[in-house]
Symmetry: C2
Subunit: 155 residues, 2 copies
Amino acid sequence: MNKLELENFLPYHLSITSEMVSRALSKVYADFGVTIPEWRVMVHLNHHGSLTPSQLGVATSMDKARVSRALILMDKKALISRQVDQWDKRVAHICLTDTGKDLFTQIEPEVMAWNACLARDMPDQQHDDLLQALKTVETWCKAQGDSTSEADYDD
Amino acid sequence: MNKLELENFLPYHLSITSEMVSRALSKVYADFGVTIPEWRVMVHLNHHGSLTPSQLGVATSMDKARVSRALILMDKKALISRQVDQWDKRVAHICLTDTGKDLFTQIEPEVMAWNACLARDMPDQQHDDLLQALKTVETWCKAQGDSTSEADYDD
DNA sequence: TGAAATTAGTTTCGATCAAAACTAATATAA
DNA sequence: TTATATTAGTTTTGATCGAAACTAATTTCA
């Protein structure tokens, strides 16, 4: 590629593919009244049992404001409980309530089915390779961000 | 993957990779005071010479409201000109002005360099395979959307 | 001690976006 | 014709988001 065309430009395709997938998948759990941030939080709480908002932020790659908003929503719906830490009153320990666990076990199989369907319809290996390639790009982006010599692409 | 974990969940990685890449790349042309929608419009106008807002929407995968907002911004900055169609006064023909072309030729090499740098740092072939896999997913999503039997992932 | 700096989490603010409502122009068809 | 439907593009509306400001609790260190 010598001249720029959106058609073969990775950032462009990443953006629109991500939007399409998000939109398609969110239909699955929007039926349960759950947003993407809520869903991400649920996955991790279900897996780890109890986490602090900070830990949830790291695990879900969401900033603390977004986590906070998700937790407020989930609180209203009684999907989570908050337990103030005994030693440090700034930190809270978040758990799924029984209601929350219930909801999760309802949604999870639908999401898994959606994902399995996508994977099945892709050429062999392409799905796993895609995942791997995305992680490569993520690592590269982080390395770029850390780099001391900002914005110097043509060494 | 049998139990859901965000770590190996494609939609999750698509979303965060897309965000990271967008953020990193937008630094490149934010220096020129250009947003993502404006940038996409510029690429296509530079390539095709003249397009209507509708055509720009299709080409850039943006809805008409987003295109409209981008054009209003670019108008204020005198990057584009609008020519009302002689036969159908609803449609406009959008062109880059000389100022717009100038700006584009300033930004393009920087963007290309950024992209080349990313591609170079990825294992051989992985960049192209990634692009191809993304297109596969896009096609799949569209097919899902068109499908008559909505939301039937198992069978 | 106790003042200053740090940290966890919430709230505010401004920007952006998609969906829907809307305007103006054109096509259809009665 | 002229009424109705459709189309191109803009504007409004409500939701979401990240950055930054903010509050309260804790740690640092003088």
